[in-house]
């Protein structure tokens, strides 16, 4: 063992009480750092997973990011042209030629696509009315782009193909309207179309907004009800790698012109909130370790004061100032490492305890366990912060120790 490290260890083991106290500070700091980080990042990962599962990874909508160029501007490119009072062409809204675009998108590796025509509709039954978002879908394609089929608790989405007047919606909505499987319900659209439809499926996602606000019908039926024949207003996609959505969306938009929005773009403000939340969380838990490192500073400052004679004799013997500095710096690093080791064990214990706690988040009907992140990266981060804090706290007394001039002590005898 290097001599400096040995002296550092001997100093620490001979001041057991102070060493234990400073070690305890780092240990608690590390344990709380890990527990809080695991909880926050676990909830973040759970939230993102829910986002990814619940919403399409990419949505192509019937909009353009920039308005299409006017023919006159194209003809006189670079000319001094100014157009006033332009009125967009009156047209049925929706993605033109979506049927031709589907095979193009489906051919992209790792991409599954389905067309959807969404619009508002009112469900009426026994004098009760409920506004919903009506989604016209192709049931055979929905399995690849949505988990709605997994949430079906009665009937099936595929039943829509067999019964063109079928409708699927949330069990919560059915209970609200006192309806059940096989019952008929009146569906009215804003364009005046009214149809009586039969309930062929009920789902339960656990999210109230979806369970009471979304309904699925056959695409053709939706096109009739919403007065948009041969149109879809969204192409929804799921990817094998959800995190590639941003790049894939850019490629799609470049190819077909319509706005392709990745889930990351759609949730940008939410993602930045998560980022800010992480910054705040890590600042607070790091502050715990910084406060704990004051204990290390205190112990090592005391050791330096008490060991001035030893430092003087070491220096007179031929130890360099940097050798002396390293002895005291090593004490900080040892406390940081030892505190981290015990703290990590305690942190995992806390995380295991938190992992069995059950909660029912607002808006979710299921009781779930607290989401915990078990990644090793947070362990590496906490060790880095703990050792850096402890070494930083040891640096100043160590520097002071390195500046001790042997003669000042030797002249003073027992000083």
């Amino acid at each position: 063992m290097p001599l400096g490290l040995r002296i550092a260890l001997i100093h620490l083991t001979h001041r057991r009480r102070q060493t234990v106290m400073s070690l305890l500070g780092i240990t608690l700091g590390v344990a709380f750092f890990m527990a809080v980080s695991a909880l926050m990042r676990g909830s973040e990962a759970d939230f993102i997973d829910r986002l990814i599962d619940a919403a399409p990874h990419i949505t192509v909508s019937d909009e353009f990011r920039t308005p299409p160029e006017q023919p006159v501007v194209k003809s006189y490119a670079g000319g001094a042209i100014r157009l006033h009072g332009l009125k967009p062409q009156t047209d049925t809204r929706g993605i033109r030629g979506y049927k031709q675009k589907l095979p193009l998108l489906d051919a992209m590796p790792g991409v599954r696509v389905a067309p959807v025509l969404s619009g508002q509709a009112i469900l009426t039954f026994a004098g009760k009315e409920q506004g919903v978002t009506l989604n016209g879908v192709l049931p055979e394609l929905m399995g690849g782009v949505s988990d709605i089929e997994e949430k079906i608790v009665a009937g099936s989405l595929q039943a829509l193909a067999a019964d063109p007047n079928g409708i699927v919606f949330g069990r919560a909505l059915a209970e609200k309207l006192f309806l059940d499987m096989g019952d008929n319900i009146t569906v009215s659209s804003p364009v005046g179309q009214v149809r009586t439809m039969k309930i062929v499926g009920l789902f339960d996602t656990g999210t109230t907004a979806i369970d009471e606000g979304q309904a699925y019908v056959l695409l053709k039926r939706a096109q009739v009800l919403l007065g948009r024949p041969d149109r879809a207003n969204r192409l929804i996609m799921q990817l094998d790698d959800p995190y590639a959505a941003r790049e894939v969306a850019a490629t799609i938009e470049e190819r077909i012109g319509y706005r392709a929005q990745s889930w990351q773009e759609a949730q940008e403000s939410l993602m930045s909130v998560l980022l800010i939340r992480n910054i705040i969380m890590y600042s607070v838990v790091s502050a715990i370790l910084v406060v704990a490192s004051f204990g290390v500073f205190n112990v090592i400052s005391t050791v330096v004061m008490e060991k001035r004679r030893d430092i003087a004799i070491l220096r007179s013997m031929g130890f360099h100032a940097r050798d002396v500095r390293r002895i005291f710096l090593a004490q900080g690093v040892i406390i940081g490492l030892a505190g981290s080791a015990i703290g990590i064990a305690a942190g995992y214990g806390l995380m295991a305890l938190l992992a069995v706690v059950k909660i029912q988040p607002p808006g979710i009907s299921d009781v779930v366990n607290l989401p915990i992140y078990w990644g090793a990266d947070q362990t590496a981060l906490v060790v880095l912060v703990a050792v850096a804090s402890a070494a930083g706290a040891a640096y100043f007394p160590a520097r002071k120790a390195g500046r001790v001039h042997p003669i000042d002590i030797l002249r003073g005898g027992m000083a």
Binding site: L3, I7, I10, H11, H14, R309, D310, A312, I313, L314, R315, S316, M317, G318, F319, H320, A321, D323, P406, I407, L410, R411, G413, M414
Partner: protein, 226 residues
């Protein structure tokens, strides 16, 4: 006898609002195997001269040669290297490291120098301690020893790296008469049988008489040398 230490016109002034001259224009030569005692009244600059000769302090003016090498241009790290390899120190207070055993204290300079393997360091340290009558105390801590025993450990530590010179600052200043005579005998023997140079500052006339030469310092100057 060959020259081992030489000071030429060495002056040490402590800077400050009122500069204090500790050592004034001192020139001397010390040979190998000599037992030199520096005497003088309190505050005359004896210890300051010893620190300069021991390269613990640097002169404001003048030069010091150690083993034929001019140390005047040396930086702090070089001086530390020279002290480690060529000098040994004994102080009035033993300055042993309290948490280390007697054996570990003596091994410390050898471990720092790294010239010997750890086992050889242990053997040499144990051998030195046995020669100084401390063979039974190897694994004790300094606070378990008497004052005289502690000072003998300090002498063993000073001898650990086979230094050219052992510098001692009032080595018997804190000891009873019996222990003082014992330390005096040991240092005398080290000088005369091991051919080590001893430079000691002392107030003790009997200790001074045991040496080969007495340098008397008054007001930072050499008053007499012989």
């Amino acid at each position: 006898m060959s020259e081992v230490l030489r000071a030429e016109h060495v002056t040490r002034v402590l800077p400050g609002e009122v500069p204090v001259t500790l050592v004034r224009d001192v020139s001397l030569t010390i040979n190998r195997g000599e037992f030199v005692n520096i005497q003088g009244p309190s505050g005359s600059g004896k210890s300051s001269l010893l620190y300069l000769l021991g390269l613990l302090d640097v002169p404001s003016e003048g030069r010091i040669w150690l083993d034929g090498v001019d140390t005047s241009g040396f930086v702090e790290d070089q001086l530390a290297e020279v002290r480690l390899a060529k000098l040994g120190f004994v102080f009035q207070f033993h300055f042993l490291l309290g948490e280390f055993t007697v054996l570990d204290n003596v091994m410390l300079p050898m471990a720092k120098l790294g010239r010997l393997e750890p086992e050889a360091q242990r053997e040499r340290a144990a051998g030195l301690l046995k020669e100084l009558g401390l063979g039974e105390q190897l694994h004790k801590r300094p606070d378990q020893l008497s004052g005289g025993q502690r000072q003998r450990v300090a002498i063993a530590r000073a001898m650990a790296n086979e230094p050219l010179i052992i510098l001692a600052d009032e080595p018997t200043g804190n000891l009873d008469t019996a222990s003082s005579r014992n330390v005096q005998q040991i240092l005398s023997e080290v000088a005369h049988t091991r051919n080590k140079t001893i430079v000691a500052v002392t107030h003790d006339p009997e200790f001074a008489r045991a040496g080969d030469r007495i340098i008397r310092i008054v007001d930072g100057r050499i008053e007499s040398d012989g």
